[in-house]
Symmetry: D5
């Protein structure tokens, strides 16, 4: 899937989707991740997106999988346009891939689009077989003096 998803990262500055009726893309291939200029390009800071609304399909069983994502990055010249990010996530709805793969694919697509100095993604997947999987990835080096709070997602604890 890595190949297809990367294609989503068209570095398009003439925003095609904002303020328009934007149908859900059929796959990451069809999604258009967009970027907007960072209003504070000379300032090192962190932007965090929390996305508890994510679903894709299991490549083994074809059944739905669900995840909660948290994405942190230090913007350089660009910010991710948030509506296109939402549509990109939605485009995985009928796509099948393993948890580890999907999490890294999403992280890499954003990293490729924005070329931030640093980016990390936490994928917190709903349990299968009684055992949830979390995937944590980061790339680049945070600018010196940056402040990066913990993502603080509650650990899974079964029942009781």
């Amino acid at each position: 899937m890595a190949e297809a998803a990367k294609k989503a990262s068209v570095k398009n500055q003439g925003l095609r989707q904002l303020g328009k009726t934007a149908p859900l893309p059929a796959s990451p291939d069809d999604a258009i991740l967009e970027r907007v200029p960072n209003p504070h390009p000379d300032t090192a800071y962190v932007a965090r997106f929390t996305a508890p609304e994510f679903t894709c399909l299991c490549p083994v069983t074809g059944q739905p999988d669900f995840a909660h994502f948290v994405l942190d990055y230090t913007p350089g010249a660009w910010l991710v346009e948030s509506k296109s990010f939402k549509l990109y996530l939605g485009s995985f709805r009928n796509t099948a891939a393993f948890h580890e793969d999907t999490t890294l694919t999403i992280g890499k697509a954003i990293a490729d689009l924005l070329e931030p100095s640093w980016l990390r993604i936490g994928g917190y997947w709903f349990p299968r077989g009684g055992i949830p999987i979390d995937v944590f990835w980061q790339c680049g080096s945070p600018p010196e003096g940056i402040w990066i709070p913990d993502q603080g997602v509650a650990p899974y604890r079964g029942r009781g």
Copy 2:
């Protein structure tokens, strides 16, 4: 299973297991639920046992299932002897049954043993297929003026 498990309810007052080496019974059939006299038989009150250590087998797949149980009852002439209760729960370790069935079987075995005026059991099962099942059963009528707090077990919430 109901038949076998009920056999466990030998109403034995000469305690066989307390203060001795008591091996884990191989099945509910082999378990001996014991009872002791209620030191306050003329007083209406509630005893609650919380058992987060329970496991049995899935009758379809043979894989382990896990549950968290809370048992409440209003003692009459008898109390359940707590060590025998622990062993009885442990005896399900290699027994297969559906969640609804197991929960009611346990509740009924204790009710049969103690003949309390009232008893309830909450079975909070770990998720399978992303969907946990809880089972709630009670029998009898609580004595007038009794106080029965909520069991207060946290609802399942997936991730995030």
Copy 3:
């Protein structure tokens, strides 16, 4: 949608999906809700299913909607077969409907299938426009002496 979804409630006792490869149904029309005999038909108790993995589409925007469902019922002759319930929920993946409608449709489909003495469903929808909607429905009368704990889902609180 009510018409289509009800069709899903084929009262099928020869289970078609359990222990087999069961693809995700394309719509509630194509889903087959199944039921199994209640092992304790003479006992009044409550079964609770918690389903944090639900998604459908918004009828106005076509964008994904997400919800967390909790279903409680008092089984009569039948239990819902849990794998078919999971597949039924999954069949809404590409279906569009309003929150109030979807919640009641699901509740009524199960009620129609099982004819329980009592059933309730809580639909806890993710926020749109900053305002989440919850929908609470129940039907029938619980058998006398039944115990029905609160669903206890945490209220939405925005940020901070």
Copy 4:
């Protein structure tokens, strides 16, 4: 304010605001609360709206006040159209009134619009002078057999 706000309750079924650019109304007088037909008019159920994004002005100091609202009702012929509800709440942005008054005004406007069999509103205001005020109001009688969960908002506790 009660007079002005009530005027907002134009019982308008040709929705004016949904799917259009809808500017924030300048006051409750200018807001148009809209209603849509209830898809399940013969079914008794509860709809809950949670609105943590509310602000108005203090009538004594002119400073901003903030509140978190939870609205529950049992729909009859109508549902509140959720976008118009959001705009109605937003229209209080430059309106001054006491906490008790604002909470009841909002509750009564919705009750007047929808004529539900029952409605309640909880207004949880941010602290002033170290002491937050909560306001709880309900009207009408819930249909028999309805299920109404607690609103469950956390109590204020200062620091520590």
Copy 5:
């Protein structure tokens, strides 16, 4: 133990322990529960004492047991003097009894001392054999129109 502990309930109004050096009583027999006049004897209200510092001995093993108690009552002519209550609880330090017995003994001693219209006690015992026991008892009838909040003690949940 019931006999001994009751003796503790000397209905002593000339307070012997308040504002003096009061050594820990060696047993409930030696403890002196004291009472003071209720400053609002004509008003129906509830007083709650929360005692997370309690320990006694296990009658089977001689090892220490620990409990968290919450006592609620509606005062009549008398209030329990709080220092004597603390000393009374401390007097169980070297006393052996079963959980159910100890909880009711304490509740009855206070009820005997104060003759309140209503009293309840919740004993929340630390786990033994992985299974904690809670004991809930109340006696008398609360005066009409009284307000009695839930004790709200968190349920035990093992680990995770």
Copy 6:
């Protein structure tokens, strides 16, 4: 203290303290509880004040005591003016009284001032001798059909 504190309840409608520099009253005797007309006198609703900032003195030791109060009432003709309520609470700063007495005195002063159909107060006192005391009082009868949520204050639990 009951006598002195009641004097505080001057039923003063020409507000003396709002929008002025109001020094902290030296005692409840010197405090002036004020009331304002209820803007919705024909509507049955509940107003809740949460006051985590309260301190007085211990009548035995002269040391500071601290409490967290929650006051609920159903307004009739009057609302309590919130600034005067804050000053009234502050006036106990150098007053000595027992927990039960102080809680009821405050509740009765407000009840006397407002003559509401119903009022309740919960006083949650900080621990002394390891044992905190809570006091719960209500008076009057709530109007039919009123909605009164739980106060939901967390129980004390020592450490760990």
Copy 7:
């Protein structure tokens, strides 16, 4: 907006707003951020302001946005005067800007006013499109040996 907001940072030591009737400024341009001398200028410490009461407008839709801010800094010669800080935050009420921009503008305005050795701001925005954005910025270097606790704001988790 950066230009306008910076103008707010008039380094005014003759406090204009404290202890007076201070109307809400119409925009950050009209706000006057004020500073007072640090009573411990030779001591390295951290001051934290938590502001859960913030609202501005969305530059795309004109609809209200809400945020929860936490500001930390190590004072040098000056402290921010807290009333002017509150009014400055309130001045954004009718100002439109993107989340990333607003958060940095506020942080930079305070940094410009106070010239602290170190400052950081966390902006925790309410969800839009199901995905909340958090923005984290800091500038300067904390004095050696300073203690800076985590801001500890709970992560967003949708529903359930």
Copy 8:
């Protein structure tokens, strides 16, 4: 046990258990831990498995023990195949060993199978004798620039 359990780590790439009926192995000796190729072998990231469903036997008493495990590792060439991991954990069901031993045995088996650059395991055991034991182990060195969040499991706190 270390010897036997290690034998489980057959580095088998032709998956024997996925998509087939896989009975619970009788012991770690009989379990087959399997591995699959890492789809992102050139990327440094962390995978976390949370396993709240674990039970084995106490070597002293033969009674069941329960634990909650969290496993983190940085994949190199291989990922652990999650179904085989679940079966491996299940294979301890009738195995007796001390908490410290079991925790390290599991961690080492996975480390031996996957040869990751870094791995850690937290074993959170249910209380025995009122005192739970947690075991924390890690091996190897995390690749530079990796992000490893805290496991965040709640501490045990007894009752109250």
Copy 9:
């Protein structure tokens, strides 16, 4: 205030207040902070005092302010005598000062008294104007190899 409060730090080893009736000092000037020998003077460790019972006066309005303090230090030759610490905190009851000033004054008084190698204080103030202020200060260098847990006080979050 710094001058006056420091006078409180009489380094008095003949304890004047312990085990005697100690009236509340009228001001920090009148308080006598006392110290006792550290029983483990050659061991580097941390002592933490948590003081949720603190109140003083606002220097601008004269109204009560409230705070929750946590003090950590590494004892050298001396420990703070805990009863004198409680009385010292109580002595601020009628003293007026700004939050930043009071927090540092208390921290410095203890540092001056004990001359510990390291000390820190967190002052968590109740909200004023909707915005609470926290103050964090530390001095000295912790001995090598010391363990200093986070203070972990919950952040303020307004309502909802």
Copy 10:
């Protein structure tokens, strides 16, 4: 007390208490802390014991004190035998000492017994005079590459 308690650390490998009736030792002098061989002596890992069941006496008043302890260490040749640890803690039941002293005495006794490369103990004491004391101590140096999670005990917060 340090002298007496250290005597408890008899480095006894022939376990005297495990699997036998072991009465509660009368004092730390009489307690026998035992050790067992570490099954993984060549592996650096952490063992954590959580002990919420601890009580001793106050040396000033003779009244009971209560604490919650968490002990972490990195085993070398030995593990502490957990039953002897439980009995050792129980032996303080009638021993009087200051909080700081008791905490360090326990930590040092275990350190002396096991000679671990590193050990730490957190003593979380119940409040006296409204102010709880926590004591944190560690000794030795953790082996390189060890993983030591936070103890995560909730801070005390009084009421509300």
